[in-house]
Symmetry: C2
Subunit: 512 residues, 2 copies
């Protein structure tokens, strides 16, 4: 299709000059309005105003400019249809072959936290309508929605003497519908958030490409990461490119870090499960305790601190091999030490806004959507059901273990002493297996004494006494678990007979 | 806002009469065109044609009808703005207070696998434009996009004497943008599929609510499931409502079932991991072998057959407690037996189309998108690196185990004999732990003999010899694993020294 007439209406006027240059060389008639019209004239090109072209005034402060049959007849007519040709002629309508439009910056205005009325004013009506019409009629019409596409259009026009190919137009058409769908997804999500309606009858998710990975979970799978925020939340300040699996571990790490008391927590992740967690006012101790839970698994892991890293911690980190370090900022001297390792991925999570409370899985034509398990715990959430009562220290340790437990893949058993995890049993089909794995891990790296007051947490109820029996026999003195088994009474009885502290939570915490 | 004038243009004419009744009672002027106009007249209501209202003919076979400033001025004017009022008066435009529109059935036409040109013709241009204009101006205009909303509108008009409240209009506006965003998401995904461009700069996912769950992964989390197909793929024919965790297990089960040779495979899932898999021509044997891998974990699990269930299998199933049975159809007598258990969830997967090859996770403002790990295996994908070579039977068993391995959460070790899984080690931060867990499981339920020719598969390479050593010491005679460790040579040497068969794959299969 030879381009004879173009309508240009762009909020973002970037890169427009080279495009105008070639259109002018090709003697394409230009139609435009408002700011774009002024810009084109200022750059010294010939251009007709939309209101001149339609012979209809621009009204309602620009709300109605291009919404006119002369524009839409020009865009939507099938060039190979005799009736269409006749109707155009009869009405003195002219074909419009190229639409260059980008929209009011709704998302940008939204992200700048403007007032509602200003946000609404930035819902573009005319732009998306023209773009959709042109995209529908891609058999004849070329549509461009983003300044980044101009160079491709220029190249295409040069290559084909002012024409575009069908393939090219179809590709632009698919990009155009992506643009309009994305635009309305952002608007719709904004409205639904206002009305707190998250589980709507229809649901749209949108993302902006942050990066294509070298590959996904495995080298034979393509993969990419998108942000629903239009910008990357995770800022990398050093090291090799992050992989799919790095990101996956980082998300696990950050979820746990955010759940810990501020400025105290260290988390180590391997294969999306924690393999070490500790909270301690002393940053170095926090790190050392987390690491000592399972120093072997920590090798090549992801480590996340919910505090600013100081030199002491950086010097300790130097001694071990990890793939990713995440922290809420870095002291200068610490960063210098860490950056010595060129490949080490360093992430500053200082600006990470993680108040989103939904998660979703898409698989086999289905999207499973749910609120995230971010419920905060207090002692009121728990019942002490054993005769023996926990002192404050043990109770706090139980709550600490229970909190970590919900971030471990089910069935999950977590052992802790003094606000550090010392054994984790994850991802097993039966609870007793998870108990055994947690205990084996503890025995492998800890020298457990009675005074350690070891506690255990379970993400769901124990179906039988055997799990608790195994834990108690290995030195566990206090257990926290959601109740709900038909054998709860038996389990309480066993706890009382063995002098074990038993606490029931009101909430279950599966994670898969 | 009192409604004085309404524009009605609906492809789906369902439920329109009661709405027309009340609008007529309230003396609302109606404008319409085409089929809707005819329908309104036929039902005996007064109505003006759009072309009469705009004084502009309908052209291009209906492609341009409502795209006119008189329509858009009427929709978009701010009723409390003097300039807007003046401009409307000057141009003899009239306010339009209610838009009742639904779109050409793009998705329906698409799902019916029509030809491309027909699909494209069903991209509605006029409808979404009017809806978006009305939704933007919800301060003054009421917009309805779906026949299911009519009863709410009727109620609202009755309650407020022909007016609508701002809250009501805002809610409808949010539903309208959901509708337009969803519509363009479907179009865009169609185009991107044509151009095989899956990892686009912007990305939109859309879903239709299949059902709200009683709760998500846990009782304190809301949850729902959506279908990207506009219909449920998973057909439940008996039993209690499926839960979030049921679905999650079902997806795991179906992915494995689909990967097995047709009409032979049984899979048992617990906590999204397999705890039993077998392939056997004899259906009953297939089930029994799968079940015997871990009869304790199978309790309360999800079981999936990639064949039609017969009476024999149904009678065996009667003996155990499971939550969900999935099969490619059921013989009548089998279904009767299964349905005796009223609560048992029964799923027919016969019509399940699972050729979608992407999966995604949404979490903390990020969407991780990747191709699914559905690569098919043949012997050419593998190198035999040990001196001892596998016979056909052992090689097939190795490939069977390796295939299952990729569906087990990493680090994964899978033990098999005779095309049945006999031990699984899942979800561990270190590979040696997964080896130990798989072996413990095998020893718990199997009486292993040398003649059993037990094989092991690992989803990623062994970093040290210790894992393989543990396996071989427990009777494993052939091992398959992706290569890539700096200790590969050491591992080959160990295999040769112990007469173990060692096969390297070209692919790694992490899953988290």
């Amino acid at each position: 299709m030879k381009i004879k007439r173009a309508l240009i209406s762009v909020y973002d006027k970037k890169n427009i000059k080279p495009l105008l240059n070639i259109l002018s060389k090709l003697k394409v008639d230009l139609i435009s309005s408002g700011g774009t019209y002024k810009k084109i004239k200022k750059l010294g090109f010939k251009c007709q105003e939309v209101s001149d072209f339609t012979n209809s005034p621009e009204i309602l402060e620009g709300r109605v400019k291009t919404l006119h049959p002369k524009i839409y007849g020009g865009i939507l007519s099938k060039r190979n249809n005799k009736l269409h040709k006749k109707e155009l002629k009869k009405n003195k309508f002219k074909e419009i072959d190229l639409i260059v439009v980008n929209f009011y910056p709704f998302e940008e205005v939204l992200n700048k936290k403007n007032v509602h009325s200003k946000i609404i004013e930035n819902i573009d009506v005319g732009g998306p309508s023209m773009v959709r019409a042109a995209a529908k009629n891609y058999n004849f019409v070329t549509v461009v929605t983003n300044p980044n596409q101009y160079s491709r259009l220029i190249e295409e026009l040069k290559k084909n003497n002012g024409k575009t190919t069908l393939n090219f137009r179809q590709l632009l058409s698919s990009e155009a519908f992506l643009e309009t769908g994305y635009y309305d997804s952002v608007i719709s999500n904004y409205f639904n958030k206002l009305s707190k309606n998250q589980f709507t009858e229809k649901k749209i998710f949108h993302g902006n490409l942050i990066e294509n990975f070298r590959y996904g979970e495995n080298p034979h799978q393509k993969g990419a990461i998108y942000s629903t925020n239009s910008k990357a939340d995770i800022i990398q300040i050093n090291g090799k490119k992050l992989s799919y699996n790095n990101y996956n571990d980082i998300f696990s790490a950050i979820a746990i870090s955010n759940s810990l008391p501020k400025n105290k927590g260290t988390v180590i992740i391997k294969h999306a499960n924690p393999c070490g967690v500790s909270i301690n006012k002393n940053k170095l101790t926090s790190f050392k305790e987390a690491f000592s839970c399972d120093p072997i698994s920590a090798f090549g892991g992801v480590i996340s601190f919910n505090f600013k890293i100081n030199k002491k911690v950086a010097l300790e980190l130097k001694k071990i091999f990890i793939e990713v370090v995440i922290a809420k900022g870095f002291e200068k001297s610490a960063l210098k030490i860490l950056k010595n390792r060129k490949k080490l991925r360093i992430i500053d999570s200082k600006n990470l806004n993680s108040d989103k409370n939904l998660n979703a899985k898409y698989n086999l034509n289905s999207i499973m959507l749910q609120e995230s398990d971010t419920k905060m715990f207090s002692k009121n959430n728990f019942h002490i059901v054993s005769k023996k009562k926990p002192n404050n220290k043990i109770f706090n340790n139980l709550i600490f273990a229970f909190n970590i437990c919900r971030f471990v893949k089910s069935n999950a058993i977590v052992l802790a002493k003094g606000n550090s995890i010392i054994g984790i049993g994850s991802g097993q089909p039966s609870r007793i297996d998870s108990c055994k794995i947690a205990i084996d891990k503890m025995k492998q790296f800890q020298n457990v004494k009675y005074e350690d007051e070891i506690v255990a947490a379970s993400d769901a109820f124990f179906p039988f006494v055997d799990g608790i029996e195994t834990l108690v026999q290995s030195g566990v003195r206090a257990i926290i678990q959601p109740s709900g088994s038909i054998r709860d009474k038996e389990i309480i009885k066993f706890a009382n007979e063995t002098g074990t502290i038993l606490v029931f939570s009101k909430t279950r915490h599966f994670k898969h």
